[in-house]
Amino acid sequence: MSKLRIRVDQDKCQGHARCKSLAPELFELDEYGNAHHVGDGSVPAGLEDKAWLAQTNCPEIAIDVTEE
């Protein structure tokens, strides 16, 4: 499987927090509950499914997943 990278678009995120709930290893929330990717956004091996799960459950389509 190719390496994945995630990014949360801050203009789109409205703090539904679905990503944090589905993939807590990959996302963190700020004091307002808006989501940010952990570290540089690269998805550790084994967590690819969780990255896609978060992406497909974001109501605002604010998460980009790119294959490197």
């Binding site: 409205q14 703090g15 927090a17 709930s21 929330l29 004091e31 509950g33 459950n57 974001c58 109501p59």
Partner: protein
């Protein structure tokens, strides 16, 4: 009932015979089972219109709902309930009734107390509330789950957050009934509910000014608005009104619809009892399929939505529940699939007005269903009872008679 004084003043709406051109979300047929109606409307057009409520549109597709939710230029939130009248705007409830640029700062002050982490701290109290309620009726062999269980959980949780007595919950329930149900057709009921609620919170606000605590009312008093100024009393009272109106019968409805589904779907109930780790996923599906909350907007400037012209002065019934049943967005949209993997439902809204209490609602739903299933794994609708649904823009069971144990 001719001897009831309120019946004299409630203008009755004529029964709907043409849903596509004359819809009415307060019609008893809609209240009982809105899903086939939404299907009919969606098949007719992405946006339908009624002359009722002084003119009102309803987007019927996910796409049309989304376009309106994101378009704060043409659609204002200053009125968020579709009613018979366009009363003067007096009792604001920021941020739900705010438009940009006022919206963002009003919302920012409410966000930190409602993060998932903050909800984790509240969770043990909610778990205890659920078990205290179950203790009261578990020996009876059955109960009205709406009257005895779902109704009390959000009220007590919010009261706990606000640092006010949980027993005052019955007052809140009455005000909400006046504002959200009776108030659609009766301005006096609406104003009386708002007035009493405002007086109640005013007293608590004054008390917190003398003796601050660590509750949410005290936090709002210490919060800084835009420009670093403290929030005005009027602003705080408006936000407290919002928390009560938005935070109670909504979640009460969501928990009730979930239990209603589980009472009549043994396979789903048995699976969740056997696989409790699936409950959070199931909760998202209940939120999609039985979304309780329909919002409203007011058209400020003429525009088009999904190719349909909309004219200013009309209201918009912003039906997130109908959007969540759109089959172009959700495969098998009319089926409840408790392990649905892809679920971008809009039960908590889309765009800047995303429900500020969504993390609270999710936590309450999860805890309420978990605790119920732990103690009452088998239950079913009572064939001798009748399930009734709330009228208006928040939908959920108001009577939910169930029997405990396996059916004979």
């Amino acid at each position: 009932m001719s001897d009831s004084p309120s019946a004299t003043f409630l203008p009755e709406h004529p029964a709907v015979t043409d849903w596509v051109n004359d819809f009415d979300h307060t019609d008893p047929v809609w209240t009982e089972d809105p899903f086939p109606i939404w299907e009919e409307l969606r098949a007719a057009s992405p946006v339908v219109h009624t002359e009722r409520f002084l003119g009102c549109y309803m987007p019927t597709t996910y796409q049309a709902v989304k376009e309106i939710a994101y378009d704060t230029e043409h659609f204002s939130s200053r009125r968020v309930i579709v009613r018979d009248v366009r009363a003067e705007i007096t009792a604001r409830a920021p941020p739900i009734t705010s438009d940009p640029p006022e919206h963002k700062p009003a919302k920012q002050v409410l966000l930190p107390p409602f993060t998932p982490d903050a909800m984790k701290r509240l969770e043990p109290r909610v778990r205890a509330i659920c078990n205290e309620l179950i203790d009261e009726f578990i020996a009876d062999g059955g109960c009205d789950a709406a009257a005895r269980y779902t109704k009390h959980i959000p009220v007590r949780a919010i009261a706990h957050m606000l640092g006010i007595p949980e027993k005052d919950g019955d007052l809140f329930i009455r005000w909400i009934h006046q504002i959200l149900e009776l108030g659609i057709k009766d301005d006096n009921e609406l104003m009386s509910g708002v007035r009493e609620m405002t007086g109640y919170f005013m007293a608590h606000l004054e008390q917190r000014k003398q003796q601050p605590g660590d509750d949410l009312i005290s936090q709002l008093l210490q919060a800084k608005g835009p420009g670093g100024q403290p929030l005005s009393d009027e602003h705080i009272l408006g936000s407290l009104r919002l928390l009560l109106i938005a935070g109670i019968d909504t979640t009460w409805s969501a928990i009730g619809s979930s239990l209603w589904h589980l009472a009549r779907t043994p396979a789903d109930r048995e699976r969740l009892v056997a696989e409790p780790a699936l409950i959070p996923t199931a909760i998202e599906e209940f939120l999609r399929a039985y979304s309780p909350v329909t919002m409203a907007r007011e058209v400020m400037k003429e525009t088009t939505i999904s190719g349909c012209p909309v004219k200013s002065g009309n209201m918009v019934l912003l039906s997130f529940p109908a959007a969540n049943r759109d089959p172009t967005m959700f495969p098998d949209a009319d089926k409840v699939v408790i392990d649905r993997k892809e679920n971008r439902h809009a039960a908590f809204g889309l765009g800047i007005h995303r429900c500020v209490g969504s993390n609270l609602a999710r936590m309450e739903m999860l805890v309420a269903i978990e605790e119920w299933l732990k103690r009452i794994p088998d239950f079913r609708l009572d064939p001798a009872g009748k399930v009734t649904w709330s009228e208006g823009t928040v939908r959920g069971p108001r009577q939910l008679p169930v029997l405990f144990g396996k059916s004979a």
